[in-house]
Subunit: 357 residues, 2 copies
DNA sequence: CTGTTAGCGCCTTCAT
DNA sequence: ATGAAGGCGCTAACAG
């Protein structure tokens, strides 16, 4: 079973099967009925030559690429893993390919990478903060199908967006801290500036304070940037400056973990001295000590839905303008609770997953 | 600044710049000298039309795709994140695109996904265990450039492979358990069957036992499969069966964490009652309680080198047959040591990263 | 049901 | 330094 030519084309297959190239094309694409024996003959020929249709050629002919692009700031951290997994699943289910591209840390970029430009992808999944609204608008104007993840559409453009409910869950967490644990001095580790999740999480925080007549203290609202080290430094500084607090609400779990470290480094105990709560429910959050009270963000699901919406948009031109996935508070030990109750995280994470009961 | 046509082609640019399409092509590819004013005129035209060359067309014309494929079993877990990050970095640096594809859990597959076939990618990064040696051989025979990750080439094929040193580090860990912590009954949580890393890690384990005249007890070598739940069950069963052991060497950190859970569930203390060591040094491993003694696997670096080798292979036809990246033991608390010493993990993970000192 | 014939958009000799 | 023309491999009318 030697190779005839290193790269057989549809012509080679046609010749070998004794048919025309259109017929071969037809059996490849099952676009119109073909007689059975011809089908088998062609398929045999394809196998014998180990023929693989060249994507570039069919893409050119059909003016479709059958692939989705994913635009991320960078690949890093536990957050993107479930996102990617969700996207990949749907992409595979629908016979698409996935082109991954990172734009790099440097804030929102004003141009999309060439490889993900209009012609190299049928549609683009864009994660929050990687593109400027102008760049998004331009891409949209050029006819590229887009779905925004964790970022809403620029005004009047109605680009489909998939994100999660932030405010109510944040409110619930802070309320829990106030009512269950009698916290009154709750520090806020903010997320990234100009980030929508960050904004709504802070709103939830503020509204909870307001409801229980806890004054908002600017000295307690410090940078977290969704990053462990940033949060660590912020908390260390508060400690050093003598800012008093009995709880910390971090805009995400990475920051919560950074806070935990800063607290430990200063000899504080969690939750005995300070209660901590985060947001996202990362894989790791159930495993650390103490297990983190947080909000479960359905990130895998976000990935799935975003990819589904994009594919639907490509196929039908229609998509839901906004998908808001529900979140749920996950009470574990870092806030001071002694037993878990209610939702405890993604399927594979259950109560027994936490090391310290 | 309206769009002229929704999808401008090289012809539109040529017309607008008052030149021929060949000239436009030349300024795009900077393949031969072009007079300065023509260059500026053409570039202006491209910008005005927001022209993006269609990848399919140039791929077809050049018979290159300028993209790499990455074939994984599935996207999941903390292990792949640094791998992907390393690959992505190099891919971007070299102006390639990255096509990601998962083959699914079902053991080694005998065919590669169509999308990553011969014609859709200039080269393929294949992770251990996703393809059968036959499938690899066939892909190689068809002229596809390949680099294998964590899996060596089928005999006589000399397909470049990038992997890590397993045996010496495993030996060192087990030796540490024996000499420093006086362990004699060391359980082994095996990795995946037919997996090379798994094999060499077990060899390291066995040789260490041998060196110190500790008999190998088959009852202590149980499945781990690189999975938390599998390891958890194995350890639970040993406990239940009354198999005695004073230490566990897990073929990877996921399994080590599963072991930890099983031990806690049974009321055992780590490291007081049982010492634990793992392999990989996942992001999470420094953060759990107790911080995990393990072997640092340079996974990001593996990703980088693999991508580099593949690109070199594509460009020059040459690549190093085998890259064996060094590993290093990371002593933390789960083995019974009270302070860290020596290497403590990836750059961003240092001693203060562990919650319990 | 099957064969013939144009392109798809770009690169690449070959002339000029 | 620039233009003209052929072809990359495939799909999609259009005829039969």
């Amino acid at each position: 079973m030697r190779q005839m030519s290193p790269n057989p084309t549809i012509h080679d297959v046609a010749k070998r099967a004794g048919v025309s190239i259109s017929t071969v094309s037809r059996v490849i694409n099952r676009t119109v009925p073909v007689s059975d024996d011809v089908v088998t003959r062609v398929e045999a020929a394809m196998k014998e030559l180990s023929y693989v249709p060249r994507a570039a050629a069919r893409n050119l002919a059909t003016r479709k690429t059958n692939s989705l692009g994913l635009l991320l700031a960078e690949i890093t951290g536990d957050f993107f893993d479930p996102l990617l997994a969700g996207i990949e699943t749907v992409v595979v289910e629908n016979g698409f390919d996935l082109l991954i591209s990172t734009a790099g840390r440097g804030g929102p970029h004003d141009e999309l990478p060439r490889s993900l430009g209009n012609h190299n992808t049928d549609g683009l999944l864009v994660f929050a903060g990687v593109l400027t609204p102008e760049a998004i608008a331009r891409a949209h104007a050029s006819g590229l199908k887009l779905v925004l993840i964790h970022q809403s559409s620029p005004p009047d453009l109605d680009i489909p967006c998939v994100t999660i409910e932030n405010k109510a869950a944040s409110f619930a967490v802070v309320e829990h801290l106030i009512t269950e644990h009698k916290c009154r001095r709750i520090a806020l580790l903010r997320g990234l500036p100009h980030n929508e999740d960050s904004h709504w999480r802070e709103m939830g925080y503020r509204e909870a304070l307001e409801k229980y007549d806890v004054p908002f203290d600017p000295a307690l609202a410090v940078p977290g940037d969704y990053k462990r080290v940033v949060a660590q430094k912020s908390v260390a500084r508060m400690l050093q400056d003598g800012v008093e607090f009995d709880a910390i609400f971090a805009a995400d779990d990475e920051a919560a973990i950074g806070a935990l470290q800063a607290l430990y480094a200063a000899g504080k105990r969690v939750p005995e001295d300070v209660s901590i709560a985060g947001f996202d429910d990362l894989h790791i959050s159930a495993l650390i000590n103490p297990a983190l009270t947080t909000v479960h963000a359905p990130t895998y699901e976000v990935g799935r839905v975003a990819a589904q919406q994009l594919i639907r948009s490509i196929r039908t031109g229609q998509a839901d303008p906004l998908t808001l996935l529900p979140t749920e508070i996950v009470v574990r030990r870092s806030c001071g609770c002694h037993n878990h109750n209610g939702y405890t995280g993604a399927p594979e994470i259950n109560a027994s997953d936490t090391f310290i009961q």
